[in-house]
Symmetry: C2
Subunit: 353 residues, 2 copies
């Protein structure tokens, strides 16, 4: 069979430090499980590239990436050099839209060895998946400003949803919930305040849910849902949300498990018509870049999600197991109270895969 | 001087149980501090009234309430009888808009005696105010559905902001921060994803902030801001947010201090052109209604905020002190692990005022 082709884009800051460790571990797993995988290193989609060329990516970026099976991505952004709206909308958000990566999947999990900010919770108590709509909804540049620059300024910001867009992410989430033991799906909403889109979204959840009678559905307004991420995290199994609500929940969830620096993220085009993208939730962290102390686990875990998506669940599970062991026993980088380097952690996980 | 006139609206469910305790304590504080205050009991703005009349409030509700100095409100909603969008938009959200209660103020505080869901935090570690814009922004019924009922459905939801509306809430928050010791203001945003309204909102924060050079401003995207409510709650002093973001943060904040059942809320028209409204953050709790075990502290604390707003800071402080003592020593209602009734808690706080 054809080798898998993956673009490796380190991006900015610690993206460049964690990428080699991600590659190291994915290669080790590929070797162990006999997966033929080829990486293509790419230096664009970075602020360095922007400084040289005045754009985040070459004009033919889509042609270059389209033949790939996946994009393995470090982190993008360097606000001191390039404003976020240029670096992010010029790369990540472009990939999500133009490669129709309509699912943003983020696992939330509490591990032994990671101090939990919540009192009295232990590994196993928190283990759920946030499924975020990744291409439409609240993230738009539609609308405008009237009487701009005067005291009478009025601003309209439009959110845009489609049945096509809502149904496919809901369907994905129902499928996921249906395949899990608990078969429990939380649907984030705010239909008591946002009066057009959210009641409609609730209706789409009802409609799609009709095909999944075994799944228990729990609709929750985003305010109380956020509160319950803190108060009753064991309640959740799969959580599906619009673009904005999913963005909030997928930072809040990892915060409650102390894993905001460890959390991975999969931006999926499930049909594999376009490459999917796998990246840490953390950013480029200019403040610690250059010291070789960034924790590479989010990058490595993202690599595990990538192998899973490409059909290799066994390789995913082996990497997760190795991550669990290292979190429990060390070595640990400074964010976890240790003194190990980025590379030492990568090598320790590689050994265990 | 004229007596203060306050409408007392219990509303639904446990609103009817906590209201008498709120009145009891406010009356005790009024007596102690020589405040002339008259309460007018009102039975509408409730689902019972809706069942009798087919509307949440009488046609002349505005005429009846306009002469009041304040509205003291229990809780509204009884989904089994009346859909939320009717009960809420027909009462609370109407008050907010038609009485131009453009500030929603919610204190977040950790108390001795209240188990904190966050590990290792003690009273004093968490103490901040969420200032939410309460009349515009994301809460609208503007927009619509195209190709409704077909596979091609497209939904537009509009958020609407005005310079007038943003500047006044930002100014209120800057004034508040400026009057406090730390003089620290967090501005919630999402300008890296929501491309029209949020960059504009950031700009208004900069513009208004120019008049408050002593205040330190910290702009945070709502995703990481939510995470930091969990990870670094000591970081916050005053937090200002749009309607939706403020809604989320003012449930999440109390969740992190274990006070979601205790938290009060002030819906303010600071100019006192219209009456302001004071209510618990909690709802009508159909599941525990009728047992006399609801915790009345949110109602009582809301009464304290009301007295403060009406010019009686000393009365506010005395009530808060009494709440602190009861939280530390008991008696406690079942939500706090005790066996006391709603009334017993009210009486205990009354004694201490
Ligand atoms: C009931 C609901 C419409 C309301 C809101 O979202 O404003 C409530 O959550 C609140 O915070 O007062
Ligand atoms: C950087 C930003 C635009 C992005 C988002 O909000 O989607 C990030 O927070 C994320 O969650 O991937």
């Amino acid at each position: 069979s054809q080798p898998l082709k993956v673009a490796a884009i380190p991006g900015d800051g610690i993206g460049k430090e964690v990428m080699p460790e991600g590659l190291r571990v994915v290669r080790a797993a590929a070797k162990r499980f006999n997966i033929d995988i080829q990486f293509e290193p790419i230096d664009w989609a970075s602020c360095d590239y922007y400084e040289k060329t005045g754009q985040m990516m070459p004009d033919d970026w889509k042609d270059q990436l389209s033949p790939m099976d996946a994009v393995f991505f470090g982190a993008v952004g360097w606000p001191a050099k390039v404003p976020d709206h240029i670096s992010l909308w010029g790369s990540l958000l472009k990939f999500r839209r133009e490669f129709d990566q309509y699912i943003n999947l983020r696992p939330v999990r509490l591990f032994d060895g990671v101090p939990c900010p919540l009192a009295g919770r232990k590994a196993g108590d928190i283990d759920y998946l946030v499924v975020r709509e990744n291409t439409e909804g609240e993230y738009t540049n539609l609308g405008g400003i009237m009487y701009a620059g005067t005291d009478r300024e009025i601003v309209i910001q439009e959110s845009v949803y489609s049945r096509f867009g809502a149904d496919r992410v809901l369907k994905y989430a129902f499928e996921l919930a249906n395949a899990r033991n608990r078969k429990h799906l939380t649907v984030a909403t705010k239909s008591n305040g946002i009066a057009i889109s959210m009641p409609w979204w609730d209706g789409r959840a009802d409609a799609v849910g009709r095909d999944y009678p075994a799944v228990t559905v729990d609709k929750q307004h985003i305010d109380i849902l956020s509160a319950r991420f803190v108060l009753q995290p064991g309640r959740f199994d799969v959580v599906v949300a619009s673009n904005l609500f999913g963005d909030i929940l997928s930072d809040l969830g990892p915060a409650t498990t102390g894993t905001i620096g460890l959390a991975p993220s999969a931006n999926l085009n499930p049909e594999r018509k376009f490459p999917s993208l796998f990246e840490p939730v953390h950013g480029s962290a200019p403040d610690i870049y250059g010291q070789g102390i960034a924790n590479p686990i989010a990058m490595i875990w993202s690599g595990a999600l990538m192998l899973d998506f490409l059909g290799h669940r066994d390789a995913h599970d082996a990497i997760l197991q190795a991550i669990e062991t290292v979190l429990k026993q060390g070595p640990h980088t400074p964010d976890l109270g240790g003194q190990a380097t980025t590379e030492a952690l990568g090598r320790a996980i590689e050994q265990l895969v």
